[in-house]
Amino acid sequence: MAFVVLGLVNARRNLGRSALAVASMAVAALVVTSLLSLSTSAHPGAMLPERFLLGGDVIITGLKLASGARDLDPAASLPDSWRLGRAPRDGAGIWAEIVPWIWQYGYLAPGGEGGAAGLFLTPEQVDGIIAGLAANPRVRAALPVAMIPVLEPADSSRADGRTGPVLGFLLGRDPALDRETFGRYLSEDLMAGGVYLDGSDLARAAVVDALRSQRGYSSVYPGMVLSCLVPSMSESPEGTPFFDYSAPKEAQFPVVGAIRTPTELQLVDDALVPTYWGTGAILVSDETLRLVAEESGLSRAPVTAVAVRARDLVNVKSFVAEIREAFPGLTVVSVAELVAATSGTGSIAPLLSEVTAGQVAGSLVPRAVPLDLDLVFAAIAFTIAALLVASNLLVLLTARKREIGVLRAIGARAADVAVMVVTEALVLTAAGCFLGYWPVRLLSTIALVSNRLSLGRIAALTLGHFGMVLGMGLGFAALFALLPAVATTRLTCTEALRNG
């Protein structure tokens, strides 16, 4: 105990060097804390293979979409085409869904429970949009884009001349959300709200349920084969085909990837539903699309919408303006804007990357263990800091050889002196971790609050993370403090006194 006290006293006494050691450890803790605050590992549910996000999506549709609570008012006169399972308002195109939408905080946003965005484009219109975008030099200059036709058939002609397999969105929901919960959401929260939902949504929930209960996956993995229900195809009185969820059919899909909208980062802290709002759009191959079409009784896969993926969220606003100007007759929806509106704060989720062919290909290999480089960076940062602390201690011990000699002469064992040295290192490290963690914690909280991001993200950095930072710091410090500690054990007291 006496040596622990001596270590503490020494840490306090050599303020200059201690401050240096504390500062180096603080910087390491700061780096690690920053990594943690940004890390997806701080946010449950975010798994690497599923981090293909569509933050910059801009959806161009043939319909005006709901954009506020009034639009969901059952008393309001909604166009039929907004409703699930209903026919589009005219026969010029094909009804389909892009993503489900959620009514939250008075807004519609991609979510899953709230309904569907109908759209109504002919294949010619889709090709025209793609061609128009590709030909618009301002759009191209401002923002390189990738254009992903939704539910596009393999044999469709593409105005941009690209060939080969294409990916489409198969409507899905966050598979982590179970059927019971989903049903409760529908029946209690939204059904009560009006006429917007009906039994077909429950059938849709069964699709999700299949993902979860049949396969036992907490999420969708690339490479897995989904056995689930798909909607059948019906025709409107006007003769327009549409998906009918009231009579689902059994089908199997190989999954080649998974896509989620930015809403996944809006964590819902619910002990019963450890999940997030999410639109689990599952990427399937064109072959799967064909199978879906066949199972659904479609003569051909429906051409639906065009999702234009922006690479940079910063420019989405101007980009959307460009598209709206280019296509005045169509509704252009920015997912980012909707997410911002949905968050109730006006801020958007962090920048999300474009899905590349390479990413999709890479995602084909199932990964049992999520890869998290944060730990590697953390280890590097702490190693450097601990080396600094250790080197400081070595210098300090050289200057204190005489003192060590005295301690040994009056009966201190080598191990006792080593305890003193390690204690000193641990004290400095703990101080550094404290100084490194809490300012970042404070700053991140201020930043997040001032950016009006959801509280879930702020709360994601918890005391547990401080424990992690402290634990890592102390572990590394203890390891590297052994170096100077062992050096002291090799000193005889006569050597120490003579050379000190």
């Binding site: 006496a2 006293v9 002469a409 009056i410 009966g411 201190a412 080598a414 005889t492």
Partner: protein, 229 residues
């Protein structure tokens, strides 16, 4: 017949400083309970080295030190540390107090090393400081004490674990004549009243009147007949 409680047998220690130096050479010495031995001799004669070997602070290259049957050569560094802690109090010329601890804490340190709780250690340290007439200065740091006072703190520290042996290496080397006399009298008192076996290395003759043995070292050896009584 009283048998020696500390023996040096054929003790030899060399150093390499550009050339081989025989600091202590084939030395035999018996120290008896209650002895007050003064080791004297010219600089470089090996006095301090001998004292360090006897205290277990250093190891000989040859020979043996035996303290009441315990052979130093059979003890590892920690064993020697324990032996120093319990049996030997050592006083240095330059006091060697821990600069950031008060006089009281310096004296309490060996007691804490020996496992005594802090309050007990401090209580005993207070008594020891009273013994060396330093009670009023117990809260002072070494830098706030005079040389003589620092040396008395060092002596109190050496007495902390009530050792049988009190060894001092030029304890008055840094003190004026008045303080030298005070320290010499203190050692004599400790020898006389507390029955400590005292071995002092000193150039000063102030210790001679109080000692029962004066050992003279020359070239690493004791003068003829001085090592053994």
């Amino acid at each position: 017949m009283v048998s020696p409680n500390l023996r040096a047998v054929n003790l030899t220690k060399t150093y390499h400083v550009n050339e081989l130096v025989w600091a202590v050479r084939n030395l035999y010495l018996d120290i008896f309970p209650g002895d007050f031995a003064v080791v004297t001799g010219p600089s470089g004669s090996g006095k301090s080295t001998l004292l360090h070997l006897l205290a277990g602070l250093d190891r000989p290259i040859y020979g043996e030190v035996v303290l009441e049957g315990s052979r130093y050569s059979r003890l590892d560094e920690d064993g020697l540390a324990r032996l120093r802690r319990r049996r030997i109090g050592f006083v240095y010329q330059f006091f060697n107090l821990v600069s950031y601890l008060s006089a009281l804490d310096n004296v309490a340190l060996p007691l804490q090393f020996a496992g005594q709780p802090q309050h007990q250690a401090r209580s005993k340290a207070s008594e020891l400081l009273a013994l060396v007439d330093l009670s009023p200065r117990r809260r002072h740091l070494p830098s706030q004490l005079s040389g003589g006072e620092q040396q008395r703190v060092a002596i109190a520290r050496a007495l902390a674990n009530d050792p049988d042996f009190l060894m001092a290496d030029e304890p008055t080397g840094n003190l004026d004549s008045v303080r030298t006399k005070e320290i010499a009298e203190l050692f004599a008192r400790l020898n006389r009243e507390m029955h400590k076996t005292v071995i002092v290395v000193s150039h000063s003759t102030e210790f001679h009147p109080y000692s029962n043995r004066v050992l003279t070292m020359v070239d690493g050896r004791l003068a003829d007949g001085e090592g053994r009584s």
